[in-house]
């Protein structure tokens, strides 16, 4: 195997896999509380949790406010999350690269 995927193809593949996971596979994820929440419940301090200041966000709890179908709601929220994370993530690392070492072009 001497042929390699180009970086662009690799990144696009990775993004597609991420979209698939967040948009479709996520529907089949366990709905049980995660380790921390489980322990908090078991040990009796879950009731000390307070609502987040953004609890009213239209995407709160990985669903889209007003979308009734749970599969659609979680899937769309996941896809939006991937898009937002991509925008912030690629944006941040691009800015880091831009602002370093080699003299700026302007």
């Amino acid at each position: 195997m001497s042929r390699r995927l180009s970086v662009t193809v690799f990144i696009v593949l990775g993004l597609l896999v991420s979209l698939l996971i967040a948009g479709i596979v996520s529907h089949y994820a366990s709905a049980s509380p995660d380790g921390l929440e489980f322990v908090a419940e078991q040990e009796g301090f879950l009731d000390t949790a307070q609502d987040s200041a953004v609890a009213g966000s239209p995407l709160a709890d990985y669903g889209i406010a007003g979308v009734g179908d749970p599969r659609l709601s979680v899937g769309l929220a996941g896809i939006l999350g991937v898009i937002v994370t991509a925008a912030v993530g690629f944006g941040l690392f691009w800015l880091l690269l831009r602002g370093r070492g080699t003299p700026a072009r302007r």
């Binding site: 990144i11 929440e37 995407l59 690392f93």
Partner: protein
């Protein structure tokens, strides 16, 4: 309705949360400097993709025992793929997006979540990975196994970081010993899955583009890490 993944506001009192926020901000500042030094151009898109992939994977809660689920942290995965400094930033991006848009993890508690999952988990992962990598023979398999072990250990240690924060400022009147036992116990089990997933994903990237794995530098033959494939076909 999906389970929350991170520490909500209220578990840890405000003074402790604020103090840990300061640690988180200092850590992010260090990581920004470190990543600027460590990241080369080829890893910039990988760093963005790593953040996206971790966000997606964290949506996949897997059952670990009756009534409990676990989910990937991704700290070891990120550290091995893009280096520890960029990993801190990638994890931070994920946690900020989750807290701001998905109301997952409180805003006051965000400093705790960043400290545990971005700073502590990445630091442990990278320490374990780089120490073990020195002991094992230099091969792709070593990279995969050490990444898995780093992933496994990062989870109970991150849980331990929560226990420390709970000791300092937990609002629930609960004996610390039982919180310690429960948190570390559950997260040892979750860690096994974290280790396996980390190893599998690192193996997949190594198979496709070994030159894009930061942690493989110095551990794999130069031939595998250069962009142009070796001219001579090598025997299997």
């Amino acid at each position: 309705m999906r389970p929350a993944l991170h520490i909500p506001d209220g578990f840890i009192d405000v003074p402790t949360s604020a103090a840990v926020w300061v640690i988180a901000v200092l850590g992010i500042a260090l990581a920004l400097r470190g990543a600027r030094r460590q990241l080369d151009d080829s890893l910039i898109p990988m760093a963005g993709l790593t953040a996206v992939f971790i966000f997606a994977m964290q949506m996949l809660n897997f059952p670990v025992a009756a009534g409990t689920s676990g989910h990937l942290i991704g700290a070891a995965l990120a550290a091995v793929l893009i280096g520890p400094w960029a990993a801190v930033l990638a994890l931070t991006v994920v946690l900020v997006v989750q807290a701001l848009f998905f109301a997952d993890g409180g805003l006051i508690a965000l400093g705790l979540n960043i400290t545990n999952l971005a700073l502590v988990a990445v630091a442990v992962s990278w320490l374990v990975f780089s120490l073990l990598a020195r002991l094992l023979p230099k091969s792709p398999l070593s990279v995969i196994i050490t990444a898995g072990i780093a992933g496994f250990l990062s989870v109970p240690v991150a849980a331990l970081a929560f226990v420390v924060e709970f000791a300092l400022g937990g609002t629930g009147a609960v004996p610390l010993a039982t919180v310690f036992t429960a948190m570390v116990g559950v997260h040892l089990v979750i860690g096994v899955i974290e280790g396996i997933v980390t190893a599998l994903v690192v193996a997949a990237v190594l198979a496709l583009r070994p030159d894009l794995v930061f942690g493989a530098r110095g551990l794999l033959p130069e031939r595998m890490l250069t962009l142009t494939p070796a001219r001579a076909p090598k025997g299997v």
